[in-house]
Each structure stands twice: as C-alpha cells, then as structure tokens.
Symmetry: C2
Subunit: 200 residues, 2 copies
C-alpha cells in the first residue's frame, strides 16, 4: 500500500468522508505545501498526546482540570448537563451561561445498547453529593431528540431525591425562523411555554 | 489556542470542510481511540516525507520514478495526458490502458491566471523529443469541461509539428445512463461519434 493509499484509507475512517472524498482530500494534501500536511499531523499528535477528559466534568481538556471547572468566577451552584463535549462549546459561544458543565458522553439509546451505566451519571451524582459543593440547580441540556428527551426524563428521576432545581432548556421557535417552516410539535411547545411580553 | 481548536483549524483548511464539519471531525477524533489519531498523523507524515512528483510523468510517487514509468511492460509508445495526478488512478482502475501517463498539473484557465507556462507541457515535449523514446500517440484525456477542452485544443496545436497521432477521449453516453437524463450536447457528440455495431 502506497503512502497516498494509506492516507486515503485513514481519511476514509472519518465520519461523513467516503472513499471518493478521502481520495480527493489525500490528493489535495499531496498537492499542497508539505508544511500544511505536517501542521495537520502535529495538531493530531498534540491532541492524541495532551487531550483527556476533565476528571470533574468530563469535557475534554489539555490541563489537569478543564478551564471551566478551575475558573473560580464560574457559578458553582449550577451544573449544565450536556450529552457530548462539543456541546459545551455551543453553549459557551452563546456567552450567557456562567455555571459549570457536566458531560454525559452520550445519551440513553437502548437500540444502540447504551444504558445509564454507559453515561457519566455517577460523576454527576458525586458532584451533587460532594459535601464541599453547593449545587442548587441542574439544567438538563440534552438534545431535543427522542433519545435526549428520554435521557432528561431518566436524569430527572435520578435527581428527584436531591434538594435541587432540575430544569430543562426551553422549547420554542429558533430565533430568526419563519413560523411557516416550524413543525407543529415545536409550535405546540412554544405555545405551552409562552411568556409575558416584557414592558419596554 | 487549545489543541482541539488547533486541530479544528487545520481540518478546516481541507477542501469542502467548513467550520462546523471541522469541529465535528476534531471531536470525533478526540472521542475515539488515540491510536486512530496517531495512525492518521503517521499517514500524513509519511506522505509529507516520501511523496514527490515523478520526474518523468509528474504523477505522485514514493519511489525515484513512479511505478508506471518504471514498468517495462507498459506500452512506451502511447502517452495519456491528464490534468491532475488523481486522474491517473481513475484511468488505471478502468484497467484498459497499458501506456504511459503525463500529468499537466492543472488546466488552462485564464480567469484563474493559469496559462501554458503553469502546466507541465515542457516535460511532455521533452519526452516526445527524447531520441531514446518512440512516442507514436498522445491521448489528450483532459476533462470534458470548457477549460479541459481549451487545454486539449492548445496541446493539439503544440503537438501538431510532431509525427504523432493526437487523440481525445470519446464523448458519449456514460455506461448505465438513461438517455432522458443526458444533456443535448452530449447526445449530439454521441451521435457524431456513433460507431458500427460489431457483429456478435
């Protein structure tokens, strides 16, 4: 197997990259400056060498504890629970949430054989029960999919015994959307969750 | 910039990979086995270290001369000219052509500022004029696009002074296609290039 074939095979393992795309990417890399290829290789090696899950929240980080968990200015009383680490970034980009995160590492999905024991739920309980902590609210920010919803319902049951607010992200019309393109279930949720107009 | 951000940036340089896809790929790599990440990095480094253009035909190879050029069983009298190195693979997979290749490294495209001097045309002339060679036919296998066609017409002019057959890949209906989906220009070309049915 030639180096180009080997690179094509490795690129073809990436999600959403089929055989033809892998070949196109490989030849793009071969044709371009070698420095670009080496820089991508270095970035990969750095990730393999340095990135690990934060022992507290499960988000990926290159330091002993992730930057959110070790930031004393973050509100230690609120934990936002997400399915996957990259969703932390989506919430951080919104720049609205100042609490902590907890990454489950997936969602309940019986069809895929993923049950509660496969998710980082024990870590969440440990954080809530930690005598040094004072968690007052857990926001369930799992996805608005069937599995995400089932995961939220399951977690709500697990957390019911604790003196906590357990909340869920609001359902509604995404900002910038036209109503005519929104499905009926979302409109029903948006109606159920309607709020008073604030005085201007 | 964190290692994940750096990897996302490098992946985002690949063609067809936008910011969101780059992020998704980066997290896929972070979440999977580290060995997969290292294997991709090794494949990249191997390509950067070992792959270079064949000094004869311009195809990429890891050896002094590419495997087609150094194969004495290939028909040395026919050179198939392609725009890009990856098109050599497309023709090789058809397993019909037994001659040699020549990679131009692009196509004439005045709008992109690519003229004859930017293509490996001098190398082709050198191969034809080489007293030790005996090239009898040059197949212009540039793409069936406007630029590919213009490149073929230009090359035909350059090669006119040499005692050579200069041929072009046939235009026609792709195998397996329904006529109703074929554009009129292709049908016109297929009619113009129609051939006698062979006796069975």
């Amino acid at each position: 197997m030639s180096p180009i074939e080997r690179l094509t095979r490795e690129l073809g393992r990436l999600p959403g990259v089929g055989a033809k795309t892998a070949l196109r990417l490989a030849y793009h890399l071969v044709k371009g400056p070698k420095e670009n290829v080496r820089r991508l290789a270095r970035a990969l090696i750095e990730v393999a060498d340095r990135i690990h899950p934060c022992p507290v929240c499960g988000n990926y980080c290159a330091t002993a504890v992730c930057s959110v968990c070790e930031d004393p200015r973050r509100d230690q009383s609120v934990i936002c629970v997400v399915e996957e680490a990259f969703e932390v970034g989506a919430i951080e980009r919104a720049a609205r949430f100042r609490g902590l995160f907890h990454v489950l590492g997936g969602r309940l999905s019986p069809l895929d054989g993923i049950g509660p024991d496969d998710l980082n739920i024990g870590g969440l309980i440990g954080r809530i029960e930690d005598p040094g902590a004072s968690v007052g609210e857990v926001i369930l920010a799992t996805n608005a999919s069937v599995e995400g919803e089932a995961t939220a319902v399951y977690l709500e049951g697990v957390l019911r015994g604790y003196p906590l607010r357990v909340t869920r992200l609001a359902r509604g019309i995404p900002v910038g959307s036209d109503l005519e393109y929104i499905d009926g279930t979302t409109i029903a949720e948006a109606l159920a969750g309607r709020r008073e107009m604030e005085a201007r």
